[in-house]
Symmetry: C2
Subunit: 599 residues, 2 copies
């Protein structure tokens, strides 16, 4: 079994772990239904009161029919001492219990150190999901829970993207922005088109069964959703592998920035499937191009606007430090929601809001708020990731939702691996002509192998309209297999691969003052070189941006007291803080009594 | 006006502040409706996809009719470049915007220091609510938003109670538990009965108008809900007043512990109103008594069980520090929900879960998790409080929900003030015969005056069934006036009163090591004295409990490494940490360059 029992503490945990399916079984409600009826209950005042405060007869639909009956017949018999108020508390209860289950799963997996160094957490969580789904399936013959696209896109995904965007190493990101954009746009388009056309080709050749009722448009749609690298999967797998920073930022940046491509392709093909391939003209294709620009640039703009609002407002929170963390979360989340509202790229919006605001917000808010923001974001992202993988596992156990065709599954797997590798090699060849530090062969292997697909693809395929896309069930099954293959097989093997290829690992140490000074000096030198050569290259523009930031943006967005502090002071303060903490850590770690001299 | 504009930064904030009513107006949806339809949208996969990912024709109900029409007629016209996806994002959007509004309101109020020292925040928030409600009312002639009991009891109240319970000064609480319980049980019963009977009396005398169609049972019900001191109001007002710790813990503890009394009285009278006063027998009254014991002791027990589970599980989170904060929130919240589920006292459950788990959890989790838990809880509680007061203001502007009778309002105000004072004086007289440090006159005045009513009473009166309680609308109006009077008038005047009476204030300094040692020595001496005198008093039992805790509980609930550390080590570690931080603070505060010597 996948759970490694380690003695007595497992008993209560496992009891809790099993609580949910039992609860679910007792009430015969799916998450979906309960979300609906629960929130409906919230809305109707007077109908679902707090337990014990509801008059008999007005309790709404009781879950257990016997109780309801009893209440009806005893109408003159006064009140019950203890009532069972499931319908009233079920929404928050089910959500809390799922979160608890996810937390407990995490705790259990990490009890055995030896195990977790080999098997990635995401694999374990999917397996747990499969088992839970299997248990529910055996008990009910239908699946009660699955990863709902609404839940995923509105709550789980933003949690992860928000954390990723806000703590994005911005220098590294912008240094590699060219490469990231190329892979995200050209790479994703290449993957999508090649996979789609080749699948259509093998369909014509008869490798894919007749029963898969799909035309070119259907395959293009499927290609669009299956070919984007997934941020959630990339974070989950790469954070355990620790490849070097450049490699990570390229794959991870790509997984975030390809959102606009996916959104537009999906939208365009959806409409093509509607109108039929015969009616697709040049005008429609042009509209697709315009749409891409609007979705990507619009999303980015929304993000930046929210970044400015957020940074600006945190200038004035000195007397209400208590709400600073919430304020940061709210505005980053609103950047995502607003982009969704206008059907722009929400991931781009949130990413750029985070990147843009981070510097100013961190300077404006208090040390304690910073810690709270950091750890709360990490906690939420971690738990959202956990829930996504568990639900992916559970969703796979839903027989009613998918149909199997070996040809389709096998061809898709081969094509996405093949075209990913070809795309990476081709694009890197072009890129290396412009890069100062070229991406070598080993990098390309890791990038190809690290092109993981994940929950976004799954949520998109579930969103398809089965009426219009006849082969939906086959696509669902194929997507599940692709996601499982990339997350589980590739996730499991990428660590040994990276070791075997001797990929440079990331070092966790912070740059010394000396290194920082040298880096800054180099920046200035390179800018000067570009200026002398008459080039307006990357360094030239970065310098311009830094001057603009210093002259206007920082003045506008930073608290006055922060802005007026010299950089020397900042640096000193940082070192001082590091020193003080390291003293405590030393003492704490080595348990040696040392007297810290009070100054 | 209540907003003190301070220059340019007000403009964007105010724009955002006004955003919500405008959004609400544009879509004609109340929070309730939107919660329902939004979450319903979440549930139905394939119907409401993410923006831009929804095929034309399957977008569900579009908010703007013209768009929907256009889509219908252009069925062959491809896709829209930008779509307006309000129905998809509205639930999280509305919630986020409300939270944002509350945060901005807080930031704005604290811009003027001079203002906030005189006027308590809760008054300002209610005023803001009144203004917002007025704006919406002018635009729509009906109120879109109000404080829903479901929202209040399931989400807002637990946030505040959780924070209060977890950070309850447990020593102080248990030292005064006798007094707290007396005031909570006897005091609340006294208030409820006296207010009810006297209101019934003046109704018979004709002081209250004929149109208020209420009998004895209705008044008993009203008395039950109006007489409990409210935790939210007490926290909001008292945390700005800073009376001494003992006085605060008595009033605050009472406001938490009277929940069981309120729940049971409300439940019992509800059933009495159902069956009619004629059918109420001794059996029913006995059932009420049993119910009280079940609700209070059951709630406490549920809380303690969750406290044990929480403490025990945090022993094993060493490798997954990241989820520790979430885990704490979840289990404390589940303690509340589980009590609600079984219709026990949820406030008692959550309070005792917090008090019980705090010591062990804080020792088990990491320093960073501790900071995150603390500040996240404080942030959430603060924002929940803000939202409650704003919504109280807004709810008051809903003309359709209330009916005015001057006699009822005036009599209720007089009675609750009068009986509160009488109750406090009577009970304190009894208490002082047993207390080592008696409560003097000034304490009694503050306790009487600090018996604030608040949102719990309002939520309960809104929950009444208008069919059965004919005078509901009059009760609603009276409750609103009582709440506003206590929070605004008493909240505004209690600070000058406390100053005028020279009530000993709380000192914010921590006890020195010397004081702590003496306190502990005194505890042992008092225990010895009780032992010699053959008494089994409070100190005897506390000593027994401490021995039990040391022998069994701590062994079970504390991480081994924590448990094995000596107390001396703990104390040393604490001092060391305090020193290191004070060094940094000194340097940071005075901006003096001091070299911290590295050890």
């Amino acid at each position: 079994m996948f759970l490694r029992p380690q003695g007595k503490m497992l008993v209560p945990s496992l009891l809790l772990l099993l609580m949910l399916p039992v609860t679910g079984a007792a009430t015969e409600l799916s998450v979906t239904e309960s979300l609906q009826s629960g929130l409906a209950g919230l809305g109707v005042s007077g109908d679902h009161g707090p337990p014990g405060l509801v008059s008999p007869g007005s309790t709404g639909e009781q879950v257990q029919p016997e109780v309801a009956e009893e209440e009806g017949s005893h109408h003159g018999g006064g009140f019950k001492i203890v009532q069972w108020e499931w319908s009233y508390v079920q929404t928050p209860y089910i959500i809390s219990v799922w979160l608890l289950l996810a937390s407990l799963a995490k705790i259990l997996f990490h009890l055995s150190q030896r195990f977790t160094t080999v098997v990635p957490e995401s694999c374990m969580l999917i397996l747990l999901g499969l088992v839970l789904g299997g248990v529910v399936l055996l008990a009910h013959e239908k699946q009660l829970y699955q990863l709902e696209p609404g839940l995923f896109f509105l709550f789980l995904l933003p949690t992860i993207v928000g954390d990723a965007g806000y703590f994005m190493p911005s220098r590294l990101f912008f240094d590699n922005l060219g490469a990231i954009t190329l892979y995200a746009v050209v790479g994703t388009l290449w993957n999508a088109f090649c996979t789609a056309f080749c699948l259509y080709g093998v369909k014509l050749l008869g490798v894919i069964d007749e029963k898969v009722d799909a035309g070119l448009m259907d395959f293009l749609l499927f290609g669009a959703l299956i070919s984007a690298v997934d941020p959630v999967a990339v974070i989950a797998v790469f954070e355990e592998v620790h490849v070097n920073d450049t490699l990570f930022i390229i794959v991870f940046g790509e997984s975030l920035l390809n959102d606009a491509v996916t959104v537009v392709l999906y939208k365009v093909y959806m409409s093509f499937v509607e109108v039929g391939p015969a009616n697709v003209g040049t005008a429609e294709c042009m509209k697709g191009l315009v749409s891409f620009l609007v979705v990507s640039l619009g999303g980015t703009l929304v993000g930046l606007v929210f970044a400015v609002i957020l940074s600006f407002t945190t200038r004035f929170t000195k007397k209400v430090r208590i709400i600073e963390p919430l304020f940061v979360f709210l505005l980053v989340y609103l950047a995502y929601l607003t982009a969704e509202l206008c059907s722009l790229s929400a991931i781009l919006s949130m990413t750029f809001c985070g990147i843009g605001a981070n510097k100013y917000v961190e300077a404006n808010i208090s040390q304690k708020s910073r810690t709270t923001v950091k750890y709360t974001m990490k906690t939420l992202a971690s738990i959202a990731e956990t829930i996504i993988f568990i639900f992916l596992g559970i969703s796979a156990m839903d027989k009613t939702k998918w149909a199997w065709d070996t040809g389709l599954v096998a061809c898709t797997l081969v094509f996405i691996l093949l075209f990913r590798a070809m795309g990476v090699i081709g694009q890197t060849w072009v890129l290396n002509r412009f890069r100062l530090v070229p991406l070598d062969r080993i990098d390309q292997v890791v990038m190809s192998y690290g092109g993981l697909r994940g929950a976004v693809a799954f949520a998109l395929v579930v969103l398809l309209d089965g009426e219009k896309v006849k082969a939906k069930d086959y696509f669902v099954a194929t997507t599940i297999v692709v996601v499982f293959f990339t997350v589980m097989f590739q996730g499991l093997t990428i660590k040994p691969l990276v070791k075997w290829l001797k990929v440079p690992r990331s070092t966790n140490r912070k740059p010394t003052i000396n290194e920082e000074i040298h880096e800054r000096a180099f920046d200035h030198i390179l800018t000067a070189v570009e200026d002398i050569a008459g080039l307006q290259g990357y360094h030239h523009w970065r310098d311009k941006w830094e001057q603009f930031d210093k002259k206007y943006l920082s003045k506008l967005l930073l608290r006055k007291s922060v802005y007026q502090k010299s950089e020397l002071w900042e640096a000193y303060q940082k070192i001082n803080m590091r020193d003080a903490i390291s003293v405590i850590d030393q003492v704490g770690g080595q348990r040696v009594m040392v007297h810290s001299r009070r100054l």
